[in-house]
Amino acid sequence: MNVGLPGLGLGGLFFVLAALAMPLVELARALRGRSSRAGRRVALGQAAMALAMLGAYAATGWLIARLLPARAAEEVLPVAASTGGGGMPYATVTLVVLAALLGVVQVARLLARRPR
């Protein structure tokens, strides 16, 4: 089974960032003597995939900005690039929300480990 909306929303961003971190995690494992050839291959492969996805994301933004009629661009791009929250760019808000959710998880982990 699959859950949710593959590729969309914070979930897509989460996995891209997690994939980009994989070589670093594998390096940490290597320093602890826990790396493997298969693990290194997967880490580099998925990180490369994530980089390609980010490149596609950037190219899409560039393409949309160039292909949209001037009037539509004036209406769409400012809304897409900023939010009502102090004019922070959409991408920044997304990252902040993701960081906040991950922070919640870390707090929950600490609370779960606390002796009763």
């Binding site: 699959n2 693990g39 997967v42 809304v79």
Partner: protein, 380 residues
Amino acid sequence: MNSTRAGHPRPRIASDDLSVSSAPAQAGSGPDGTLATDGRRTAGLTILIPAYNEADHVGDTIRSVLAQTVLAAEVIVIDDCSTDATADVAAALGVRVLRPPANTGTKAGAQNLALAGVTTPFTMAIDADTILASDAVERILPAMADPRVAAACGFVLPRHVRTLWERGRYTEYLYSFSFPKQVQDFYGKPLISSGCFSVYRTDVLQAMGGWNTRTMAEDMDLTWSLYEAGWSVRFVPGAVCWPVEPADLAFMGKQLRRWSHGFLQNVAVHWRGLRAHGFLASVVLVACWDALVATSVLFVVLPLLAILVSPAFLLGYVVDLPVLLVPVAYAGWRRGELRRALASFPAFFVLRLVNGYHLLRALWFEAVLRRPLRVYEKGH
């Protein structure tokens, strides 16, 4: 339907539970109707195939199991009081057929019926409409050589890729199993050990009471329960299976309704236990956020912006198209199915909308109205 082998070396079977025999432990007919006496190894494995009115598919499933490069010690079809010829088809192929006195109501119930009598070290559960690549068992079993691993799952692709819905599901699986699931496995937490094709450590599975029927997604429930009990689960991308996926909107809706409700039910059951598992908890929390926010953007925000500001906001439905195309095209190319992957790609965006609708609906019923889904309906 052979998968490509690029990047997936032949596994070495290291498990002590494999023994060499000149004939399969279970005398059954091979695909050509003859007894298999070709010296294939037999594993300490029992394969369970729960079935309800699967006469059209169970024969192919059993034949794929009997054609494996590594054989199971026993294959059991649990005929959950079918009203068609499911039991006859299974019996004709020489496998053991169990039939409960009454319909158990769920796949989990059927599987648990057979699980009680399993004595082999490993138990595999396969859906009755799922065929396995001929080396699927051989490829998945080495993951169980690690004593910390209690379950392992494989790569899933739709058996038929013809209708809009099957194509959407094909794209979804290509993306999910080639990117997010591999990331999950790297971090030690595959989200789900797929119910259509997974292998388990029998004593662990029996100690946990088998598959729980408290949610509509018993495979997710079992996977998360294993994590909470300190076990590991692995994803083996080289072990491939092909289930029959819903071919029309009505059946797709039934399946998505069950999956959406099942996910939320599992979050309600497991949220405390998941707190200690950072990566998994992060995946689940982000998925919950998207269930509410991303679906709201899809069905409320984008339409409003398109009407009130500019129709160009409809681009929001497909703006991530190039991003998703990268893993889908790569996975399709690796499998020698690039043309199929590209042709199926647009269908994914339709399926995603339907998925989003069912997720929002499930959120409304489970979390707001407190009317959980309790009736198990398969997708075909």
